[in-house]
Amino acid sequence: MNLTEIKSSLLRITSILLVLFVAACEKNEPGIDDSSFDRKAMLEFYADEMIVPAYSQTLSQIEDLQSKAQAFTALPDSLSLINIQQSWKSAIISWQEACAFNFGPAGEDGLRKSLPEEIATFPVSTSKVEDFVGSGNFNLNDFNRDARGFFAIEYLIFDETRSISELVQRFSEENRKSYLNALVENLKTRLMQVRDSWTSSYRSEFVNNAGTDAGSSTSMLYNEFVKSYEGAKNFKLGLPLGLRPGQTSVDATLCEALYSGYSFNIIKKHFEVMENIWRGGENELGFRAYLKQVTGGDALIATTESQINLIHNALDAISDQTPMKDEILINAAPYISLHTELQKNTKNFKSDLSSLIGIAITYSSGDGD
């Protein structure tokens, strides 16, 4: 190639580029705003309309639980027991709204585990709980997370093998009263720390970390959203249903909320919260809105929404009249099909979503030139 040839080919390339540039500009001129998405606004929505209200709501339910626990332990009778049971049910449902934002103040930090591990571990070790009640010696900061939190409280106040009066009778034991009150207090403290951190400083840190790299708020929110979704599917459904390799049968003792018979209500609520996070509330300001602005997003929204409908159908096919732990021993099929539909939706919430939005999931991922 001589110099003139080089020059002419350079000219050709430049003109091709120019034409492409102009063509691309023209095609997209009316919709320039369409291609940008205000991630900070999305984060503000999540912080102000979802995360902080969820923590506050849960905290006030726990405060209600505390007053009911105090009333019950002051004067154990069947009415005060039913009151605390009702309050616990409201609190555990409320907690579902708050259980998926496990970063920052609710994330792991040194010895502290993520908030759900700290306050909602199941199955509960009833022997540990009874030991602590028996001895009156316990430490709520140790590794015995299966002896505290929502489900240890549940174990103390629900027991279908005992009549209401028998259950009330058990609370003549002072140690049982004080363990119950200590667990509720501990629950309140943990929630309050997280809520206060959000309302004081973390909110601005969260909304201003508006990038898409690993460690950005969008990436953390997405990661925990997926983790919560998969956790619900794998641990609240998969394990009790015996769907893990190596499991040979249904294992009802692995159900969440074993004693209150409230497992299905919790699962249902958990999924509704997942859907709501994906949609971003009534005005759809969350991941769904983000998807609407990116290449291939509309197709994924359609796929996701049709799968969400199938999940709703599967949820509707399950009755909450019989507790999950009993129902899955008789007829596990509706629960298994719920698990299947949730499984089919994983890719929509997980790999497809993150790929289209272009968020980095992990540090050190990616190859480069």
Binding site: I16, K27, S355, S365, D367, G368, D369
Partner: protein, 445 residues
Amino acid sequence: MGIDVKSFIRNSFNKLAQPVNAAPFVSFRIVFGFLMAFSALRFVLLGWIEDHYTEPLFHFHYYGFDWIHAVSASWLYMIHILMILASIGIMTGYLFRVSSILLFLCFTYTELIDLTYYLNHYYFVSLICFWLMFIPTVDKHQKIPAWSIFIIKFQLTLVYLYAGLAKINYDWLIEALPLKIWLPAHDDLFLIGPLLTLPATAYVFSWFGMLYDCSIAFLLMYKPTRPFAYITVIVFHALTGFLFQIGVFPLVMIGATIIFFSDTWHENILKRIKALPLIKEVFVFSSSRDVKTKSIFSFALFKTFFVAYLLFQILFPWRYLLYPGNLFWTEEGYRFSWRVMLMEKAGDATFYVKDSKTGREGIVDNREFLNAHQEKQMSFQPDMILQFAHFLGEHYQRKGVNQPEVRAEVYVTLNARPSKLLIDPNKNLMLEKDTWKHKSWILAD
């Protein structure tokens, strides 16, 4: 034919054996050693020894390297300290030969532990370290045989050129994908952020990237274009470094490409470096002896190997042509071919393990065995899917599952297209082996 092949080869060998000014190699070596020390230190400080090597329960091995295992954390720390010391040896020229052998062995070993972390630039670094073991010591006349510099330039040229050729495809040039996905995600970048959301920007970046990669090595070789080309190198790599999570790669390329500069340019630079305090006391710039620079290249065996290496490097990246199907989808022949930042791909892989006696089938929770990075990489690469399937089969056999059958439902999205099944979801992967042959259980794109 006008070309006499025999005399062409003989002339080439003679040229490659000729002693030339060592200055470009010496400054390359200093920069390369520095960057390697920095990179190894960064790796340790980021806690990646634990994250990458010691915490995962399972490692994906490279084909043919399943005998490589992760040693304990304390040994890995030792190896990284050795790597840093060896890099400093390369930089200063002190114990150069020992350093180069240590660096090659340590670096290549750590890279081979887990396929998850494969990066083209790690492969590049391994290759350069390999040649450093053979490149002769600079003699007292500041000379080095020409092949020493040639091989580095050759490798760099190939990296760029093949990266550029790989970009000549429909998605990259006509659809501006994946940049149309990647760029808007960085709309918060200082100054240029808002521009990145425009589709036109993705087109400009795509075309510029392709033209840049295809031509930059040649523009660096040609003296009149060199200064301009090097400025482009800095701008291009700085930009990609800011935009994407690619670690030290931009620095490595900005550093390595200085080898294209002239002897005088390098002599000037080295003069300035030597004028710095302490440098003369610490650095070894050349041997005091009259090293026989021709020695190793005069062996026929070495010459044969040298030519075989060049041919391998030129041909191996084209092996994908021997496989059916779309390379980006099947990834058969994708690695070790300088295909960098070329596609946006993600998958979701669900593994089912069936007891062949009872017929009971269980669903695996991948995160029980893999970290997020491993799961992400495995979920769209067939050979890794196969490895993980075999691991699961063996794991659950030990747990009492009878002759486990393992199948996987893998949905993959490529460049924002709706996700589709990557492999036959009914195939018992325990019966499949990883070979060089086409994997018939990969479904068509």
